[in-house]
Every structure is written in C-alpha cells, then in structure tokens.
Symmetry: C2
Subunit: 355 residues, 2 copies
C-alpha cells in the first residue's frame, strides 16, 4: 500500500520495511559507478527493488549532491533568450542534457557582465558541475572574478582566447559573404557587425573586410548598431544619412539584414537589385523572405558545447572546436533566382493576377 501522503519515500523507509540497513538499500538502488559491488542476496535485492517500486521511491538528488559534491547540474548563460540564434543553441544543449539526465540552470545576462557575475555566484551556490557561456565579451576575462572556484567553463558561439569554446568558423563566414557579393559584381560593401564585444561579428567582419581589400575594393563600412531588426533599421538610416548606401550588404543576423533592407527599400533601394544582401544563421524566416544567408549548425553547436563540458568533467582534456558554415543563395543577393515569399523587386504592385 503506497501510503505516503505528502512526503517522498526515503531509503530509510525502504530499509525499515525490508528489514535491512540503509547502506544495503543504497548499494542496491544506486550502485556506485566505481565500485559496482552490488553484492547482496538475490532475495534481498528483489525485496528492496519491490518495496522501492511500490513506495514509488526516488532518490533525493540534493542529498546525493551534498554527499558526493557532484550535482548533475550545469549552468548555462545566454546573452538574451528571445532570439532564434541563442534559443537554438540552447536547444542543442538541452538535447544532450536530457540524454545524460543532467539538469540545466539557465540564466539570461542581457550581455551585462555584472549581471552575469551575480547569477554565476548563485549558480555556484547550487554547486553546478560546470558552466556553458554564450555571452562572452572580447577583452574581458569570462567570469574572471570567480576563477578560484575552479568550475569548468566552456564557451559557445562566442570565443575567448582564455577559454575552450565551440564556435562557427566566423572568419570563413565573412570571407564567404564577401566573395559571394564580389562575384556578383558588387563593389561598395558594408557590414553590420552587431556589437564590438562579440567575437562573432568581429571575426566575420575581419574575414569580410580582408577579402574585400584583397579584391581591391574600398574598405567596407562597418556598422555596430547591434543584430536585431531595429538595429538593422538604424544602420540603414545611418547609411542613408551619410549618403553611402552600399551595393553589397552583409549582416550578422538575418533579422538585422531584414531590418536594414526594409528601410533601404522605403528609400528606394531595392534589395537584390540595388543592394545585394546576405545574412547569417539561415533561420526559417530567411527562407520565407528569400534572404541569402550563411547557415551555421546552431543546434549542433549547442550539443558540442555540453558534450565537451561533459568530457572535461569526465577528466579529459578538451580543445576548442570550430564548426563549418555554408552559404545558401537566394533572391536577396541574386535576383535571377526565383522569388518565393516576398519579392525583393519593385515597390509599386501591378494589378494582381487572377486567382
């Protein structure tokens, strides 16, 4: 009769019912990894198993953690959550966590190092076994104040020389975008890099600019308004304000490119024609909007970050990884391609075709 009313059953209760000690119960129910000495008489084992089953026993992870100093818990820092990119990375992390029965404590830090430290302290209070950070800033030691508590850290998405990281080949992405635009005959290039503390934007811009210069073009203009739709709009306004609208635009995020092209279009610059645009992440919306975009395996990036962290926790030495990127060309840069969703063409609609 499972008569537990409000309380979770404990090993002690099982021990009492079976007539053995908690030690034995512990050994049977949770055989230690290292010493699988689950020696016990078959009858005892059977009895313990049965009572545990009928009582609905579940181990108290907190007690285990307190005893073993391993919490089966990790901390994950995201700069912002409501964004496709970071959310996709987190989805990959979550995937691996599920497979390994690990719980992730997640915190958004709004790209504010101070906030990050506060929440990191809180995480460490919960004895997380390790930390995955997607919100690293260049030129600032990640969680520098807390290194005494040597918790393994793996960075993801954004690199930092001081830490192991899983990133996309951002330099290659920039080169790829530039080569693509140049191959289309574009000569006045510009790039929206997000913020200067993000290695993603900085690295992509580096590859982009370098390739442009090597091709003998003017140095691309750099805009650092951010990576949101709104940031893209602001960048576009800046372009118009300085009367230097590019004919080739590369942006760190599909969204900021969409924001930029929408404003440019309002001002008469037709995407795909007047300005060829390329984004990053190849998000679903890029497909729906005919936006050329450089895809990155975000989900897999998340996966690898936790896999690496787990390797580290398992005692292995780990090294940074760089993931490949690939370009999908659509009508936003090559107007000869079929337009699907929203045409990048003229502003004044003709009479609608008869349905």
């Amino acid at each position: 009769m499972p008569i537990r009313i409000n309380q979770r059953p404990t090993q002690r209760q099982i021990a009492a019912r079976v007539g053995v000690s908690v030690t034995t119960v512990s050994r049977i129910l949770n055989p230690s990894e290292t010493h699988p000495e689950r020696w016990a008489s078959p009858e005892t084992i059977e009895a313990i198993r049965e009572v545990a089953e009928v009582l609905g026993y579940r181990r108290n992870s907190l007690a285990v953690s307190l005893r073993t100093s391993r919490s089966q818990t990790i901390g994950v820092f995201l700069p912002v959550i409501g964004d496709y990119t970071l959310a996709s990375i987190f989805a990959g992390i979550d995937d691996v966590a599920r497979e390994h029965g690990i719980m992730a404590l997640t915190a958004s830090t709004l790209d504010t190092p101070g906030l990050r430290s506060d929440r990191a302290m809180n995480m460490l209070d919960h004895l997380v076994d390790g930390i995955i950070g997607a919100d690293a800033h260049l030129g600032e030691r990640y969680l520098g104040g807390l290194d005494a508590q040597r918790v393994p850290i793996v960075l993801v998405h954004r690199r930092h020389d001081d830490h192991v990281s899983v990133t996309a080949d951002d330099v290659a992405a920039g080169q790829m975008a530039a080569r693509h635009l140049i191959s289309l005959g574009r000569t006045r290039l510009a790039v929206i890099i997000g913020r200067r503390y993000m290695s993603t934007g900085v690295d992509r811009a580096a590859g982009f600019v370098q390739t442009a210069l090597e091709a003998g073009l003017e140095e691309p203009v750099v805009y650092d308004h951010g990576f949101t739709v709104q940031a893209g709009r602001e960048a576009a306004l800046a372009m118009i304000g300085r009367e230097s609208v590019p004919d080739g635009l590369f942006g760190m995020h599909d969204l900021c490119v969409l924001g930029a092209t929408s404003v440019l279009r309002q001002h008469g610059y037709v995407t795909g024609e007047d300005v060829a645009a390329v984004g990053v992440y190849d998000s679903p919306v890029a497909g729906a909007c005919d936006l050329s975009s450089i895809g990155i395996g975000l989900h897999n990036m998340g996966r690898r970050s936790l896999e690496l962290l787990l390797d580290r926790l398992g005692g292995s030495d780990i090294e940074s990884e760089t993931l490949p990127v690939h370009l999908t060309v659509r009508a936003s840069s090559d107007p000869s391609l079929q337009r699907t969703g929203h045409t990048w063409g003229t502003m004044t609609p003709k009479a609608p075709p008869t349905p």
Copy 2:
C-alpha cells in the same frame, strides 16, 4: 588571507576562526525569515561578517535545501526552445527569477508528454519548489501521473481547465483577426491553427470561426499542419491542392503565415491583394515583412506566470489570468498601407530606381 584553495569555505570554518558556534554564524549570516532573531553582540556580528567576507563565504544552497525542503528552484517546461514565442515567454520568467534569486531548471519536451514526465521526475528529484509548464496538451491531465507530489503548477501560454494558467485572450484574438479581414471585404477565410492539442490555436480558431459565421460567411477552412514556416508552406500547398485558396488568411504564428504566403505567392496569389494575411505574436520579423499581426505581451506573460507561482508558494490562492491582445495592421492585409521591407505586391520587378 583568503587561503581557500579548492574548497568553498563553510560556516564551520568561520565559526572556528571567530571562536563561536556554527549556530551563531548561521543566525548572523542567514537570518531566518520568520524569526529574525539575529541577536548577537555587535562585536560578534562584526567579526563573523568580516571573516565571512575575507574568506569569501557563500552558503551552500544544496545544504540549505536539504534542511529546509525549499530549493529556491523551479522547473520550466517548454515545448520547444528555438522559437521566438516560447523563448520570449521564458525570458519573462527568467526576469522574475533573477529578481527573486531563484534558479530555473529548464527542459524542452518537444510536445511529447512522455518526455515531459521523465524530465519532471528528474526535476522533482531536485526538489523544485514549483513548475511552470508551457507545453500543456488539451485533453490530457498535465503531469497527471505525478500529482501525488503536490508541487504547485502554473501553466503559461496554453491553458488547461485543471490548472491555473496565464494565457492570452485567444478567443478575442481570433475574433479580432476575423473582424479585421471581414472589414476588408474578405469572404473566403482560412485559418492555420497549429496543432489540435494546443489551446492557443483551438481557442483562436473558435473565435475566428464564430465571428465568420456570425457575419454570414462560409465556415473558414482549418489547417492543422503546425505553426512553423514549413507548416505554413504545407498548409498553402494543401489550399492550392484543394483549389480553395482563401482571400483572408489567419495563422497562429507569424512564421507559419510567412511560410504560407511565400508558397501562395509562388503560385501567383499576391499577399495583401489576392489574400490578406494576419499572423500572431507581432514578432520583429512581422514588422520587417509588413505582416499584420496580433501582438501578445509574451514577456509579460512569462513574468506573470512566475509571479503567480511565487504567490502560490507564498501561500496565496491564485487564479488564472487572461492577457489582452492587440492588432497591428500592415500591408499584408491592407495594401493601402506603406510597404517597407519586402513588398507584397507584384512578382515581376520593374527597373530599379536610380540610387
């Protein structure tokens, strides 16, 4: 000299240095909420504070939880993570969590009840104080198997009669969409509802269909392919296949509408002209794509869900809340409005304007 090498300092260490008992240290450092009897001599208090400071003392949350049966931890279930909607809700939850020093254990369940149960067990093993669920399915008790462990549950985004929930006024959203389309003279309506187990889509469709019928229109056709870009594409193909392309389309998510309109457009149906389209969530991309959309305060919705849960944990009785929605009209439904980013107009671009 903070000479802790690898180990976090404990109350005992402080007690030893100061020459008091751990009890006193505990009382000073972590005065209980109920009995703020932090009686101690000013010198003692001062000394303890100082040593704690210099040692870099931080309480061990796990030990506290084990002792108090309160973990300052909650569990959050999301159906999927890499999506603007859910991620935004989670951002709101995270906000409140930060303000209250609470940690959130997050898990994606892929809208698979079995997966949810497994991970819920794991969460309960970690003694979460409560659970927020964004992945409820209609017609299925949420976490039905585990109700014995009476952990407070608050649903968000999707309602379920058996639970307190924070949702948008989905019925009103459906009515609003229908009224808008009808006011534009649209008569052949259709709606993409996501999946049938989602109260969001079901409720919105209810309001939508009801309003259409009351206006004397034919019953809108319902498509339940999902709410992603791809789902929208499939729905559109279905429309074309059955030769009943609507002149008014409402979709549960901006993305599925974008997916649908992109395919419809490929087949010659111009958005805003041949078919007026309305989405939900008013995500940034809706703005960039001139998509009319019904906005919901997702961030606030997330906030409220945790606030409610905390109220409940504080002993209050709580009730479900319904949040208001509002429509933003853009060129996708009303072509007289200025188009910004991507025109919904004709397929064949005219000669580009001179930049």
